[in-house]
């Protein structure tokens, strides 16, 4: 389908009374429009990394959340901040799934693709569903941009888009005409607001109120009133244009989702991680110290924590990854919650220091927001290939507790869990998030403070009984004596310690014992972590076992198949070292265990080794999360 758009079809709707405007006029005709109800919509916004697609997607998300839809998002952006305009590597995308149903993933395939230029179309078109809706900014389809995107012919003219519902809009032109003369901004500046025009179109198309975004614009650009005005006009003009143009005959509405009553907020994984650690600090009554070196996709945790000084949070942007973890260890030694955050390459650098924390038996939490590896890998893409690194990645026998949040909102709860375990077992705890959780957003049921676990922190004070490496009979944790405590002066370090006294000791029997004690201590945490739950029957044909961010895809796939009467269950691990104590029993209940992972089968290898089950790895290492249908197809092979 293709349309011509009369220049007159722009509505003023109270935006301006400028009589000199030749562009903003009332529409000639106002055709009645249909409003259709749909259940779930997946939209992907795509443009240059400088086009503001992340912002557009985020605004659409926030509004959809506030109107009560269930939401799930997948931002997808290049590692380059501003790759050459119009180039294929410079394409930035933001996928949003919103629904009146309970959803757990950003959607397998977009129903709607908004493409601001040829490169965005080229990169994203293969993902669009058959017959899906394309909204294209034809102004972006210049000969130069077509060349950048390696299009031999213009796809707008060569019939290659025949299988889709195409809406060709001159967004840049319409936006320029609406703003020119109404704001005191350069053409370049005006052009930068075109994403709000596109957002306005989408708001009309999906029956969203503009209020939330208008408020955001007013706050965000409070100090630049002209920019605020430009974005506001762009948004409203886009909305009104869509309302009045003949291009769109139907718009759609998505009702409130039937989700559990309560108060919700929209939250990304990195935000949830940051406020989760602040909550842990409050629950433990100990200040939080965050040592970090900027790295994608973990930096937002540093940004967020540095804003919360009123909680006594100390953030330390270190000279490198090693200094970041060492400072966190120093802060732990002095009694604060020592926390360091990074991505896989950073963990590689920190490992020797993490070994020091294992040896000195100090609480420490290491956040790894995993990204594509090895080496620099895919900095902005998601992956789960650092599980081995966390469990086994250090020299010597060097056990650490490992936990992994399953959803953006779960990042909050697992942050608290990581701190709780670190203090209780005087042990480093790895917290494995990933790029998808970090940047993805979902509605988060705000918990009541009373429902959060308490974190007990006790310090040694009695010089008569204190021994640095004596152990709690239950947990095997050593006592925690803070510098500043009279009579407890003692020395710790990376050299092997004598059992009980903590003296430097090279005795072979002592080393063997200490190696086993450190392992035993981590193993004993099993008594303190929840059992793994099975979704569905506890025995049967297929169990899909997952960990981390695959939760949404796995759960959605298995729910769907269960509704179809298929013999499949799922289980999801949030504790990866040690494993929950019932895991062996759960695995034994199924003929086949399938383990979808965004790596080559790391969890799968671990459970095969530990439980001797013939588990099947299902790998996808593409920097993208699993689609629901990919998991469905895999499971069907074993039914």
């Amino acid at each position: 389908m293709s349309y011509t758009i009369p220049r007159r079809l722009l509505s003023s709707k109270g935006l301006t009374n400028n009589p000199m405007s030749t562009v903003i006029e009332p529409p000639v005709t106002q055709a009645a429009k249909n409003l259709e109800e749909v259940e779930t919509v997946t939209i992907r916004f795509a443009g240059d990394s400088g086009d503001g697609m992340q912002l557009t997607g985020t605004q659409f998300t926030n509004t959809s959340a506030v109107v009560g839809n269930d939401i799930s998002t997948l931002p997808d952006f290049p590692a380059e901040i501003r790759a050459p305009a119009g180039s294929l590597p410079g394409v930035s995308g933001f996928q949003l799934n919103f629904s009146s149903q309970d959803i757990k993933t950003p959607g397998d395939q977009p129903n709607v693709l908004v493409a601001m230029n040829p490169a965005a179309l080229k990169v994203n078109l293969p993902d669009l569903e058959e017959g899906g809706t394309l909204i294209i900014n034809i102004d972006g389809f210049t000969p130069e941009n077509l060349k950048y995107a390696n299009y031999a012919t213009n796809p707008l003219d060569d019939n290659s888009l025949a299988g889709y519902r195409v809406h060709k809009l001159p967004i840049s032109t319409l936006n320029m005409n609406a703003l020119k003369g109404n704001v005191e901004l350069s053409r370049k500046e005006i052009d930068r607001s075109k994403n709000f025009f596109a957002l306005g179109v989408l708001y009309w198309l999906y029956d969203r109120p503009m209020e939330n975004t208008l408020n955001w614009i007013r706050t965000k650009f409070a100090k630049s009133p002209e920019l605020a005005k430009a974005n506001e006009i762009a948004l409203k003009t886009g909305y009104n244009f869509a309302d009045t143009t003949e291009v769109f005959t139907t718009h759609y509405t998505v009702k409130k989702a039937k989700i559990a009553p309560g108060k919700y907020r929209k939250l990304t994984g990195n935000e949830a991680t940051a406020i989760g650690f602040i909550a842990a600090s409050q629950l433990a009554g100990r200040p939080l110290f965050y040592g970090s070196y900027p790295i994608t996709p973990a930096s937002d945790i540093l940004h967020e924590l540095s804003r919360h000084k009123t909680f006594g949070v100390k953030t330390f942007q270190a000279e490198d990854e090693i200094a970041a973890v060492c400072a966190a260890i120093g802060a732990s030694f002095a009694g604060q919650i020592g926390l360091t955050g990074t991505s896989g390459p950073g963990v590689a650098l920190k490992q020797e220091a993490i070994g020091l924390a294992v040896m000195t038996e100090l609480p420490l939490v290491i956040v790894n927001v995993q990204r594509g590896g090895p080496s620099t890998g895919l900095p902005t893409k998601t992956e789960q290939a650092d599980l081995f690194q966390a469990v086994w990645g250090r020299n010597g026998e060097c056990p650490a507790i490992v936990v992994a949040p399953a959803t953006p909102g779960d990042c909050f709860h697992m942050a608290i869990e990581a701190v709780r375990l670190a203090f209780k077992y005087m042990s480093p705890v790895f917290y494995l998030s990933d790029g998808y959780l970090a940047n993805g957003a979902e509605p988060w049921a705000i918990p009541s403070i009373d429902s959060l676990p308490k974190i007990d922190v006790t310090f040694a004070t009695d010089p008569a009984t204190f021994m640095p490496y004596a152990r709690d009979p239950e947990t095997l944790a050593r006592p925690f004596a803070l510098p500043g405590t009279p009579g407890l002066e003692h020395r710790i370090g990376g050299i092997e310690k004598q059992h009980i006294t903590g003296n430097v000791n090279y005795d072979p029997e002592n080393h063997h014992l200490m190696v086993k004690l450190r392992q035993e201590k981590v193993d004993r945490a099993v008594a303190d972590i929840p059992l793994v739950e099975v979704m569905g029957e506890r025995t049967g044909k297929v169990l899909v076992l997952g960990w981390g961010s695959t939760y949404g895809s796995i759960t959605s796939a298995v729910e769907k198949m269960q509704q179809e009467g298929k013999n499949v269950s799922s289980a999801h691990l949030r504790h990866l070292n040690p494993f929950p104590r019932n895991l062996g029993e759960v695995l034994a209940g199924f003929e086949t265990v399938i383990v979808p992972e965004m790596n080559l089968g790391q969890l799968c290898t671990m459970i095969r080794a530990k439980y001797l089950v013939d588990a099947v790895p299902f790998s996808k290492v593409k920097g993208r999360p699993f689609q629901i249908r990919e998991i469905v197809r895999k499971v069907e092979e074993y039914l």
């Binding site: 309560g262 200040p287 909680f311 120093g330 640095p468 803070l482 009579g487 002066e489 003692h490 020395r491």
Partner: protein
């Protein structure tokens, strides 16, 4: 004794602590002092001596430094429990084990970073970093620069023996050019680094140098460093009598020292020599050694030492002076005031709380775009 025989096989079967499997050998003491120190003012050197057997080679310069630091400690008036010694790896880094204070023997090169965390977490502690030339300037070079530029109130003592001792005799970043060592049988082709130049370039607010065998001077430097608020960096020339014996004899040996070492003293002209006849003056942009009484030169022509100069140029120039063209300067090179990192960190937190009140978790989790589902 086999631990397996007790069922401690690492699979969740242990029901009692491991005290019986390997006894704590009481004859070797423990890593804890076990008693509360006398109040400041009543402490003696012995209160800072731990029960651990010192395991440096006999004759090592480290003994003199340890002895000196233990002697100075009681005079600082700091409660013993508020003192923390942090070290990296190397011979010198065993130091914390021998101090009856809190101590942290960390990993190679990282002591400044660990100390940074300790000081930020509890600014009330007196934090000391003990390091060597390899630890501080090779593997830990990055932390050296950054811990210093941040101006944490930490005392940072670098034992410079110009050799790798603990790994048995490879050259270090301060080894003289051409030095033949186990790893450089044909001589080093690395140009050495000057620790004081680097400390000054890193904006150290307190820079000093001393010599292990110059006991009195070393004690004075340690004392001054402790009293300086902000980073206090001391380089100590330390003899490794096994792998680099006599490395500093050419200026530090007792009989030649007066003629080859310049003792810097604030407010005093730079005079040295057995008969106090030699001095340093400026000749254009560069320093030169002159003889008082020759060519009409008097004390008034000499450079007068000023440790409070904000501009680091003179301190840098002094740090570059070395034998044989110049006397080897020791003493305090500079001591300036500047807000410390941990104070500014605390100020930002206090400022935020003063402005907005203490953080409320309830408010925090309820912030952002929220909505009610009924």
């Amino acid at each position: 004794m086999s631990t397996e025989s007790n069922g401690h096989s690492g699979n969740g079967n242990v029901n009692k602590p491991f005290t019986e499997t390997v006894s704590a050998e009481s004859d070797t003491g423990s890593a804890v002092s076990g008693r509360i120190a006398p109040p400041p003012g009543q402490m003696k050197k012995a209160d800072f001596v731990s029960d651990q057997e010192v395991r440096w080679c006999p004759g090592c310069g480290d003994y003199a430094i340890l002895n000196n630091v233990q002697k100075v400690m009681p005079e600082l008036g700091i409660p013993r429990e508020k003192i923390v010694f942090v070290s990296g790896i190397g011979c010198s880094s065993r130091f914390p084990y021998y101090m009856n204070t809190y101590g942290f023997h960390s990993i190679h090169g990282r002591a400044p970073a660990v100390a940074t965390g300790i000081k930020c977490a509890n600014p009330d502690l007196s934090v000391w970093v003990i390091t060597g030339d390899g630890d501080a300037l090779s593997i830990g070079g990055n932390h050296f620069i950054h811990a210093i530029r941040r101006n944490l109130d930490i005392n940072y003592i670098l034992f410079n023996n110009r050799i790798y001792g603990l790994t048995k005799g490879q050259y270090s970043p301060t080894s003289e050019f051409g030095k033949k060592t186990k790893s450089t049988p044909s001589g080093t082709i690395d140009y050495p680094i000057n620790p004081l130049s680097l400390a000054i370039a890193s904006e150290s607010t307190f820079v000093a140098r001393s010599i292990d065998i110059d006991v009195k001077h070393l004690g004075a430097m340690v004392d001054s460093a402790a009293k300086h608020k902000g980073i206090s960096f001391i380089e100590v020339y330390q003899n490794c009598n096994i792998f680099n014996d006599g490395a500093f004899d050419y200026f530090a040996e007792r009989t030649v020292r007066p003629d080859r070492v310049l003792y810097l003293e604030h407010g005093k002209p730079m005079i040295f020599g057995k008969d106090r006849k030699k001095g340093v003056r400026m000749n254009g942009a560069l320093p030169e050694v002159v003889t008082i009484g020759e060519n009409g030169i008097t004390e008034n022509d000499l450079l007068v030492h000023d440790i409070y100069l904000k501009d680091p140029s003179v301190a840098f120039m002094l740090a570059r002076m070395e034998q044989p063209d110049f006397p080897q300067p020791v003493g305090i090179f500079r001591a300036i005031e500047r807000p410390t990192y941990e104070d500014m960190m605390a100020d930002q937190i206090e400022g935020a709380i003063a402005k907005s009140g203490p953080g409320s978790l309830e408010k925090l989790i309820n912030s952002g775009d929220t909505w009610l589902v009924e």
